[in-house]
């Protein structure tokens, strides 16, 4: 039998497991997951490609909502699809069990019957390490309640980073806002894009040197940087974001190279890059920051 024909055979476990009810498509899943989401981050599985893999995985636990199946409990090996750092999470849970799961649906939006279905998903193995996100403690309180009612024991393992400030050691992500508003003394204020700012820089300003001349900072739009510049930025990014996330933070703050370039090299991205001037006359990239004025391309944010 050829490899292709073998691949066409659907494993019998999959047929039995998924019963007569259809699984929701990714767009419906994403809509239901975020219907009442008042946080800044999207909930659930973020990638349609990963979603396809997850619903075919016989280890994925589904619940029936309105006669359609929704993936609610998934293996950690799919963690990246929800922003988790898979290896780090397995390490963090290693002293508990090797059966590491993620909640892939907001439990606080389930009705009583659906919560009962979720509890049943924990029973086959009767032991797992469970990662989930918590906004205003809405998930932890509900999950605790339903496990208590079912008589299933649970214990939180702290995810803390001792390097964080006192009171901030619990693994979390914070969205910050900083507003800078022009005064009236320069006349009428109009809405500008980053491209407008770049045009102003191109026409009226020059790169900025430090007083000692040892470093220079430039501005450029993401769609104008060279492949070499983009690779240099990736080189620094790839190293530093591991440090920033911390060893005990389950979420990966680091994009793949492909996703990094999707945000970096756009017409809506402005990059401020600082280079150290070397004795041989070359410049070495030491740091950069980038700004995006098209909020819609930030796929992990609502």
């Amino acid at each position: 039998m050829s490899e292709k024909k073998e691949a066409d055979i659907v494993p019998i476990e999959t047929v039995e497991y998924r019963s007569e009810w259809p699984t929701v498509d990714f767009n419906t899943y994403e809509t239901i997951c975020n219907h009442d989401n008042d946080s800044s981050r999207r909930r659930g599985i973020l990638s349609e490609d990963s979603y396809k893999d997850i619903i075919l995985d016989p280890n994925t636990g589904f619940i029936n909502i309105g006669n359609t199946l929704i993936p609610a409990l998934i293996d950690m090996r799919h963690g990246l699809a929800m922003g988790y750092d898979t290896d780090r999470c397995k390490r963090l849970a290693s002293e508990l069990t090797s059966n590491v799961k993620i909640l892939s649906f907001p439990v606080n939006e389930l009705d009583d019957d659906e919560k009962t279905q979720l509890v049943e998903l924990f029973k086959p193995n009767n032991e797992c390490a469970l990662f989930f996100s918590d906004h205003n403690s809405d998930e932890s309180s509900v999950i605790g309640d339903i496990l208590d009612k079912a008589g299933i024991g649970h214990l939180e393992k702290s995810l803390v980073d001792p390097r964080a400030a006192k009171g901030d050691s619990q693994a979390a992500l914070f969205l910050y806002s900083c507003c800078a508003e022009q005064g009236l003394e320069r006349g009428e204020r109009s809405k500008l894009t980053l491209r407008d700012v770049q045009d102003y820089y191109d026409n009226k300003l020059e790169p900025s040197y430090t007083p000692d001349g040892k470093a220079v900072t430039t501005l450029n739009m993401g769609d104008r940087i060279s492949d070499q510049e983009a690779e240099e930025m990736w080189g620094i990014y790839d190293t530093m974001f591991n440090f920033l996330s911390g060893e005990d933070h389950p979420i990966s703050m680091q994009d793949s190279k492909e996703d990094f370039f999707k945000l970096l090299r756009t017409e809506n991205t402005m990059i401020a890059a600082t280079y150290k001037r070397l004795e041989n006359g070359n410049n070495e990239l030491t740091c950069f920051t980038y700004f995006i004025d098209n909020i819609d391309i930030l796929h992990w944010l609502l």
Partner: protein
Amino acid sequence: MAFINKNSHNNPDYVTDIFTPGLVSNGSDRSYAPLSIGFFAKVADEAGLSTNVTYENTNLSKRYVPRIVDHAMKAACKYTTVKPSEVIDEVSYRLWSIGGEDV
């Protein structure tokens, strides 16, 4: 409507929402890190940009990144009033042991 847009809906219509995914340094020259954000702020200030800059922090990076951002913005802007960074949302992450012998 995006969370960031909703959050800034009270801002005047000339304010541009901007997200910055990161302040990235090679680690060996960290004193240069504020230069890039400061230069952006200086040019944006001179160009006439009013903006609401949004960015994410972990519980670790929040220890220093907001201070760098606020200091660099305030030092660079001549025409712009800068409000200090504030937290507008927080998501925490949990790990529970369920059904094991130790629980």
